[in-house]
């Protein structure tokens, strides 16, 4: 690949980074905190591309030897560009959740729930309190959690969220079983908001034998997907 083409590829890649981080699209792939890094590196690539193209077009050939045997592997940089601009892969959902085992971090202690009825909780927080605190800090409270529907092996659904630390390659699911007033026929990947109370029932995740806690649902309603579909 010659230098002009390298400049164009860098411009496209930098442009792709700027484009996904100008809107919320980048949240499908990386954590929210990565945004300044994406903007800075996207801008840097565009500047390097501009300098390269400027020198190729305006610098007289005598200034520097022209080498046209650039690295062939650089062509592959077009793949992420095409993937971002044409395909725009969605955030991970029920399929990825079904492949991974639920993971619930254990905390050393659980502070009382904040005020509110119902109190809105991240799915991971609910699951952690339910599994490791055996629901003690959830006792007598109505909670509200939001997640997507993923199929439960053997019938029924889980309310699920993907937890992400750096990027979608390290994402892992946290699943909560639903008992009580759960409408049938919820398709996978539907976003739902569930209000309910702690239920001492548990499942074992078939993927890794970890505990899946339950929530006794009072009401389940479909909601639009949140801005950031991942929890951290």
């Amino acid at each position: 690949m010659n230098r002009e083409a390298q400049g164009v590829v860098l411009f496209l890649l930098g442009g792709a980074l700027l484009r996904i981080s100008a809107t919320d699209v980048y949240l499908r792939y990386v954590k929210e905190g990565a945004r300044p890094l994406l903007l800075a590196s996207g801008a840097l690539l565009v500047v390097i591309a501009a300098v390269t193209l400027y020198r190729e077009v305006f610098a007289s050939p005598a200034d520097e030897p022209h080498s046209h045997a650039g690295p062939r592997v650089a062509w592959l940089l077009l793949l992420p560009v095409f993937a971002v601009f044409l395909v725009g892969p969605p955030a991970l959902g029920a399929y990825a959740a079904g492949r991974g085992g639920t993971t619930v971090a254990r905390h050393s202690g659980y502070a009382p729930l904040p005020a509110g009825d119902p109190v809105t909780l991240p799915v991971l927080d609910y699951a952690s309190r339910a599994v490791w605190d055996r629901g003690a800090s959830l006792e007598g409270r109505r909670v509200r959690v939001t997640g997507f529907v993923s199929p439960r092996p053997g019938g029924g659904v889980y309310l699920t969220r993907m937890i992400l630390t750096c990027c979608a390659a390290d994402a892992r699911p946290v699943k909560v079983g639903l008992s009580g007033a759960v409408p049938g026929g919820l398709p996978a990947d539907t976003w739902i908001e569930v209000t309910g109370r702690y239920d001492a029932r548990t499942d074992r995740d078939t993927a890794n034998d970890e505990t899946i806690p339950y929530l006794d649902a009072e009401s389940v309603r479909a909601v639009p997907a949140p801005r950031d579909t991942y929890e951290q």
Binding site: R3, V30, V51, P80, Y95, G101, T165
Partner: protein
């Protein structure tokens, strides 16, 4: 050891006839073809499995690009602004001592592993003994403050995990550096020819070097991302729980998992924390192996240092990291 001049061969001036920008024609044709075939191409990504593959691939590349950019900027700065005499002064003259110094210097580079590959390549170009540059390559992604802090956060109340990770990673980096001094051969390392920077203004040389390193290492990052995404989606995770009970098998399993997943060293502690059915020792091995060798890094090392280097250095790093990680884990945890 080849000198920087031998490594950065001066490209022959192209005859006038070769100035035709074939690459640009190909590039334009490719873009047009992709836009025309957009429908069928997008249809390939209708199934959940291919969608997940595409999401993981894009996220690996998107996540790594800022760190790669940081790495090539530092590498370009080393090439243009730091004279080779600087490294001769700060590193001990004796390579046996330079290795641990470079290994511990890895503390100073905050970032993931993708950035340290071009930096290590830049160090070798500036005449740093490869053994020391390699020790830096291995230690920097594993022991920098960001990684250590995230390890502490992922394992609350278990500061020994942080200590074990730090000690084992430094040990592996230094041992690999010394191993290279004893067994390594300079002609295994083949740095890609770099554009001739002489005669350019400093900033032009800086931009030229950064562009070259980026498209080169970036291309191999894509190779690694494709491989990691494919393994991520095709290898079932159930086999993990099957081996978790057997100590030595679980160590090996998590070492292989670290190679397959290719997750960034700032995130791997959280994944390790989630592998609750595994012993702490096997999880330390996961944390030691991952930042030093995985499919993404292997592709990038092959691109930066050459294939005959990577096929020897990668497996050797894997073995040393598993043994040292397990040993340190057994003593400290």
């Amino acid at each position: 050891m080849p000198t920087a001049e031998q490594l950065g061969t001066r490209p022959a001036p192209a005859p006038a006839g070769e100035r035709r920008p074939w690459s640009l024609y190909v590039l334009t044709a490719l873009c047009v073809a992709v836009v025309v075939l957009r429908g069928p191409l997008v249809a390939l990504f209708d199934s959940p499995a291919t969608q997940m593959w595409a999401t993981v691939f894009v996220s690996i590349v998107v996540q790594a690009t800022p760190f790669l950019a940081l790495g090539v900027v530092i590498s370009a700065a080393i090439a243009v602004f730091v004279p080779p005499s600087f490294f001769a002064r700060v590193l001990p003259r004796n390579p046996v001592l330079a290795v641990p110094v470079a290994g511990v210097a890895g503390v100073a580079l905050p970032g993931c592993e993708c950035g340290s590959v071009p930096i290590a390549g830049g160090l070798v170009r500036q005449g740093v003994t490869p053994a020391a540059a390699l020790a830096f390559l291995l230690s920097a992604p594993a022991i920098n403050p960001v990684v250590l802090v995230s390890t502490a956060v992922a394992f609350p109340g278990q500061p020994r995990m942080v200590v074990a990770r730090f000690v084992a990673s430094v040990l592996v980096a230094v041992l690999m550096g010394w191993l290279w001094l004893r067994l390594g051969r300079a002609d295994w390392i083949r740095l890609p020819p770099r554009p001739d920077l002489s005669g350019m203004s400093r900033w032009a040389a800086f931009a030229s070097s950064a562009r070259h390193d980026f498209v080169h290492a970036g291309g191999f990052l894509v190779v690694g991302g494709l491989t990691a995404a494919t393994l991520n989606v095709t290898v079932p995770h159930e086999w993990l729980s099957a081996v978790a009970g057997t100590p030595w098998l679980s160590v090996l399993a998590l070492a292989v998992l670290a190679v397959i997943l290719s997750i960034c060293s700032e995130a791997d502690a959280f994944v390790a924390a989630s592998l609750t059915q595994f012993s702490l020792t096997s999880r330390v091995v996961f944390l030691v192996v991952g930042p030093m060798i995985d499919v993404k890094l292997f592709a990038m090392q092959a691109g930066t240092f050459g294939r005959s280097f990577a096929v020897r250095f990668g497996p050797a790093t894997f073995v040393v990291a598993v043994v040292v990680g397990a040993g340190v884990g057994a003593v400290l945890l």
